[in-house]
Symmetry: C2
Subunit: 394 residues, 2 copies
């Protein structure tokens, strides 16, 4: 032989559940999830987002009570970690999770359960993905954004060298349990921010879903649980279908339809020193790229207006100081480097229909920024420290 050809397929399977009060003693979903393949008591390490613990002071006690009821072998008290970018920025938090996995004797047939927002799950998932080359990770996302987007997918990661998600892995979870009860303790701001990802996936994939979001907007703003449950279920389904049927689950190519609006969003988050929530930045990124699509003649004017109007109804402030500072265009180069290879940006041909381009015209990007900033009531002049305060009253 001079050359051997290796080829094999790996099948990945997991379930995304929607439930209410996963830690109630009588709810056995989590216990069944952790007892999938062995009769013996499953060993479980629980990691909890400090922010969730602050909102639900009895969470640790409820975890321990649940474990007793369902004969789970908790290897330690819940590990408390900072949520948001703090946990992903400081390497010592990754090391803390790894040390807890080692200390607890978590093996490839044990479980790590993460309870928190998307960033917490990224951090804990990255640790779980590398210990013993991958132990089982069950995600309990606690924010709208994580339940409908980040936590149902296949990525983990932390930040390094000042770059978001520079380190990470493609590591499908063992299971995802979306527990609507966690959403009750979200701030208005976080409740709403996650809706941006639902708008995003509707815009690139599903016009009927967009229309439903328009119809449900008032109910969603009034924190109607049924409307939110429907939103999460549908957005999660679209996300999962894209991964399974999009032809590139682990993103070896350069196309990222689910990153519509994200080249600008990532940069705006960074420019704002993470004052902007991810979902808030995504809303602005959607507005910009929808406007760009309009100015290029690909998107009809009425569709463009509906998109921006819906974002505004949800209370997203589309004009933030960072849009005026000129640093945004560097986000295109950083996005290109992150993708690797050719720049690939999703734009809109219609509501529900994304398509890809491989270049962005800088003048047209600038014109899009100006158009978004010039909208009446877009928030221009609002104090930067309360970027979304006006939305809370809508």
């Amino acid at each position: 032989m001079d050359t051997l050809e290796q080829q094999f397929d790996v099948r990945y399977r997991y379930r995304v559940h929607l439930t209410e009060d996963a830690l109630a003693p009588e709810n056995d979903l989590l216990a069944r999830t952790l007892a999938a393949d062995r009769a013996a008591r499953p060993r479980v390490l629980v990691a909890v987002d400090r922010g969730v613990l602050a909102a639900q002071a009895d969470l640790a006690a409820r975890v321990e009570s649940y474990a007793r009821t369902h004969a789970l072998d908790l290897v330690d008290a819940p590990l408390v970690l900072p949520g948001g970018e703090t946990g992903k920025n400081e390497p010592r938090h990754l090391e803390r999770v790894l040390a807890a996995i080692e200390r607890g004797g978590i093996c490839r047939h044990s479980y790590v359960v993460g309870i928190g927002g998307g960033a917490l799950l990224d951090l804990v998932g990255f640790a779980a993905a590398q210990a013993h080359r991958g132990v089982r990770m069950v995600r309990l996302p606690t924010t709208v954004l994580a339940q409908c987007d980040a936590a149902v997918g296949v990525k983990t990661g932390i930040n390094a060298f000042g770059k978001k998600n520079f380190l990470g892995s493609f590591a499908p979870p063992w299971a995802v349990i979306n527990d609507l009860r966690f959403l009750d303790s979200l701030s208005v701001r976080d409740w709403r921010a996650g809706i941006a990802e639902a708008v995003k996936v509707a815009l690139v994939k599903d016009a009927a879903f967009f229309e439903r979001l328009e119809r449900d907007a008032e109910r969603l703003l009034h924190r109607d649980r049924g409307a939110m449950r429907a939103l999460i279920a549908h957005a999660a389904r679209l996300h999962l279908e894209h991964i399974a049927r999009g032809g590139d689950p682990f993103e070896t190519g350069s196309a990222r339809p689910l990153d519509f609006g994200h080249w600008a969003a990532h940069k705006l988050e960074q420019l704002s020193d993470y004052r902007l929530r991810h979902g808030e930045a995504v809303a602005i990124g959607i507005a910009l790229d929808a406007t760009y699509s309009r100015l290029a003649g690909w998107l009809a004017d009425d569709a463009h207006e509906r998109i921006l109007a819906l974002l505004e109804r949800f209370g997203f402030e589309l004009d933030v100081p960072e849009l005026g500072e000129g640093g945004l265009l560097a986000g295109l180069d950083e996005f290109r480097e992150h993708l690797g290879g050719e720049l690939t940006i999703t734009l809109l041909g219609a509501i529900g229909r994304g398509f890809e381009v491989h270049a962005m015209d800088e003048e047209r990007v600038r014109a899009s920024i100006d158009r978004v900033r010039a909208r009446p009531g877009s928030g221009s002049g609002q104090p930067a420290a309360r970027p979304c305060a006006s939305g809370a009253e809508r």
Copy 2:
């Protein structure tokens, strides 16, 4: 919905090449490997094992000359790293590789090329697997062991918390280039140590290959290139076939047929403070588990004798002080934890036929140790500091 079922397959493909002098200007194999999908000059970071550089002082210059000839964009001078367990034990070496990837602007369409032994490739591969959630890694293994075993597989990893390969990933390479020229500068000890992995895979998979190793033993000991090329080609093929057709490429279950002999080998390496090479420890592990198979009545006496005789012909010292120290049996528990779940050990029903058991009888393990130590000329009484010196003259 209450539950969404996610399922998808990911296809992995890579090639394992056998060549001579991959860095010769006229050998375009590496250049073709790095130009797989783009017309533009590929960006390449090269990481080199310090031990290989010590044996081939012109290696860095040859890498740079090759890059010029073939229009490769080397992002930096070759990064020099310690080989062996040192590189895997100290986290700063992983950080150095990650920093070089970041500094060099290596993206998911660029390449990291590792040149070194199995440990170096484990380290560099783990860095490549996590930067940008995985950049392309081309392995140029420089030892017999890596060329026929470690480097053709799908694992990466480093040591942590005193545990070998505690952190790592399943990350198939972009390609593997086995360059026989690198073997010329191996010590007698390293040349021979890698042969143990070929004996191992022959024993569990391929009786005809075992017979070939018996026939070729003298040629292999006299460093006959043709015999070694045939050994590497066949062992690599068996290894690849196991991954592709064994039904569990990323080891979600507990069976590890290619880890025959390894529960003892890993522990002996550790007990000897890594004085024992991995291949040397594997040879002892093979002898022990073949003897255990014999004492249990599963392996015929003549087959057992042929196995131990072949290991001895290759010059492996089968009695080392660590066998007598009583710590070896802890290796069974550690192997169980590493596997996760049920202990699963491969034993031999015949030469070329492995099978699995889920328990080892401690008394029989002790008896196996005694039998191996009692063999005439097994090396008992040799000074520990020169565990394989006697073999060089055989």
